[in-house]
């Protein structure tokens, strides 16, 4: 894992001191809320429905046990004993007091964490593959590149006031576990025919009120040019992105309106210019960063044997454990989606348990996934049974990864000031309707995603089944959509028709799954069947 150097630590410490002064002046009435708001947002502090909400950055979703312990400490000391893991691999706290925030940020800084650039029109937390460094299918570990981009984008003076927020994802495998093409810039590390490392650049993807799949603007950017090329993409956007209309200000609108070819032409021109300025980071810096992401000290003699005689353990292994690149090891997914629970929420005690388990069984490493789960990336197979038992004791062994109850759900109207409808109660009711693990497994991979408003924080456009909560004359209403995907088979879901009330949407989801079970051929997943048979049989079941 990356360790801060003196520069990283000093800028984070300096920011804490600066914000402490700003908070004191605000509380003393020396600055107005209009003056203070942009300052607190630059430090991740929002004012939400019930209280201040703090969003803490977890760069590319990677953290160690000490950091995870600190997240538990913050939940206990400054919040109401829980945190909410988000779709940008971050964590949010919902009940923060303004006067305590500087101390909270100082605590975070003590373990090399912060809340900088988790809000505002800047480059946000870089997201990545939660299996990075452990996946068998990656061409390289994407995290050194994500870290390089983090350093490049932190306090980048030119990109501190972009037309709108800006999100990167970096992956290094054909399987897309990070919804890469639904980002402002998606970077896929690849090797060319000569075996050289480079990157595909996809620009102009995103969800929100105008969902778009990012087109590829370059099929191979040499690794040494990666930061320069990103800089060129941003410069064109910063120059021509719309600032007159918030709803048309994301880069996807610029790429769409200019057209991919013209946008690319301008980027290439800018890139040529940037190359004359010698702005690329020195190779030595990437090499320094890369040393922090070496493989852990695996036991090369570890066995692949696994005793699956305990049926509950066998179900968990089958669903939540994934193949590791190192024989004798596995990737263990911890679902934060217990049946009837709140997707992504974990108590301080559970966060502590996961930290302890990572220290004991996963070389001190954890990952947060964009699907709001936690990963222990390097677990010896011989430790899996003990690990599972300890997870089970803590209510963290739900065997539902990628099944219908493993839903992404935004905080919705229960917490969010932007939301129009509640997301969490719908997620809970659907999970309860499909609580039988056997029924869920019969449905197979089924990604259900719920947003409480058009901003699409719950990724409903990318759901095999998507649900969007809307306000219909003061009453919550839910639109159903089908056929989306955030994976390598990326697609945008289509609305089925008129919306449903809270109970009606649960029934509608069940009807859609019944159509799938009736129409399914072979090993087809829900989304495969939908793509083959189209919307008609689903509409018929839903509305006739």
């Amino acid at each position: 894992m990356y360790k801060y150097d003196q520069y990283d630590q000093s800028i984070v410490d300096a920011r804490v001191a600066e914000f402490r002064d700003q908070v004191e002046r605000r509380l003393a009435g020396e600055i107005t809320e209009d003056q203070f708001k942009p300052l607190r947002l630059q430090n991740g502090l929002y004012l939400q429905l019930h209280a201040y909400m703090l969003r803490v950055a977890i760069p590319y979703g990677t953290l160690n046990s000490e950091q995870m312990k600190m997240l538990a400490h913050i939940a206990r000391k400054y919040d109401r004993d829980y945190g909410h893991f988000t779709t940008r691999q971050n964590i949010q706290y919902n009940w923060i007091q303004l006067d305590q925030t500087p101390d909270l940020l100082a605590d975070l800084a003590s373990v090399e964490m912060h809340a900088i650039q988790t809000s505002g029109n800047c480059i946000r937390n870089i997201s990545s593959d939660q299996y990075a460094g452990a996946a068998a299918d990656e061409v390289t570990d994407p995290r050194p590149w994500a870290e390089l981009l983090r350093q490049w984008s932190t306090f980048h003076p030119e990109f501190a006031h972009l037309p709108r927020k800006f999100k990167f994802a970096v992956i290094a495998s054909e399987e897309d576990r990070a919804a890469m093409r639904l980002h402002d810039i998606g970077i896929q590390l690849v090797r060319n025919d000569a075996g050289e490392l480079g990157a595909r650049f996809f620009v102009g993807g995103g969800m929100g009120r105008t969902p778009m799949i990012g087109p590829m603007v370059r099929d191979f950017v040499a690794a040494d040019d990666l930061v320069s090329y990103a800089e060129a993409c941003l410069r064109v956007y910063n120059r021509y992105g719309r600032r007159d209309n918030k709803y048309k200000a994301r880069i996807k609108i610029l790429v769409h309106e200019l057209g991919k070819d013209e946008y690319t032409r301008q980027v290439e021109e800018e890139f040529k210019h940037i190359k004359t300025l010698n702005l690329d980071p020195p190779k030595a810096e990437l090499e320094r960063i890369t040393t922090f992401f070496q493989d852990p000290d695996y036991d090369k003699s570890a066995s692949d044997d696994l005793d699956l005689s305990d049926p509950d353990f066998a179900i968990w292994v089958d669903q939540n454990v994934k193949t590791h690149k190192q024989s004798g090891y596995a990737i263990a997914n911890i679902s934060l989606k217990p049946i009837g629970g709140i997707p992504g929420d974990a108590t301080s005690a559970q966060i502590d348990v996961m930290a302890d388990l990572a220290k004991e069984y996963s070389f001190d490493e954890l990952r947060v996934t964009h699907a709001q789960n936690i990963v222990l990336p390097h677990v010896k197979k011989s430790d899996l049974y003990t690990l599972w038992q300890k997870l089970d004791e803590a209510g963290l062994a739900t065997p539902n990864l990628d099944l219908i109850s493993d839903m992404i759900a935004c905080p919705g109207l229960d917490y969010c000031s932007l939301a129009n409808a509640r997301s969490i109660p719908v997620a809970q009711k659907i999970a309860q309707r499909f609580s039988d693990v056997g029924k869920q497994k019969e449905l197979g991979e089924l990604k259900l995603k719920i947003s409480g408003c058009i901003n699409a924080c719950g990724h409903h456009h990318a759901g095999h089944i998507g649900i969007l909560g809307v306000d219909r004359k003061g009453v919550e209403n839910y639109q159903l959509s089908l056929g989306g995907s955030g994976a390598e088979d990326v697609s945008l879901a289509k609305i089925t028709g008129p919306g449903f009330d809270e109970d009606g949407i649960v029934d509608a989801v069940e009807k859609a799954t019944n159509v799938y079970l009736k129409e399914r051929e072979g090993d087809e997943r829900f989304v495969d069947t939908y793509r083959r048979v189209g919307m008609a049989p689903f509409k018929e079941a839903l509305y006739d």
Binding site: L98, I342, L413, A419
Partner: protein, 98 residues
């Protein structure tokens, strides 16, 4: 009726105008009527509360009730965490929000 609401500067908690001060309990809220804008302006100057605004409401069994579900959720707390609402022991409180 008209209600004046905002979020407390220090705690961020939802607050309601009581006629002379702010309270986190909507039961204490008063109808600001035609005076709302003037109170709002004065309170913005005082800087004790953020993002204050006036909403429509009505009365339900003698208690002010916001007209929109968003403000009813604000008045109670998250409907999915009864333990974190202002009425953790009132099983019917959430039904009244929805």
């Amino acid at each position: 009726m008209k209600l004046l609401t905002g979020n407390d500067l220090k705690s961020g908690l939802v607050t309601w105008w009581t006629g002379k001060d702010w309270s986190i309990n909507i039961e204490d809220a008063v109808d600001v009527g035609e005076e709302g804008e003037a109170i709002l302006a004065a309170e913005q100057e005082a800087q004790r509360v953020n993002s204050a605004y006036i909403i429509d409401g009505d009365e339900d069994a003698g208690t002010p009730r916001p007209g929109h579900i968003k403000d009813r959720v604000r008045a109670l707390g998250p409907t999915v965490r009864p333990d974190l609402t202002l009425k953790p022991n009132d099983a019917s409180a959430i039904d009244k929000v929805v």
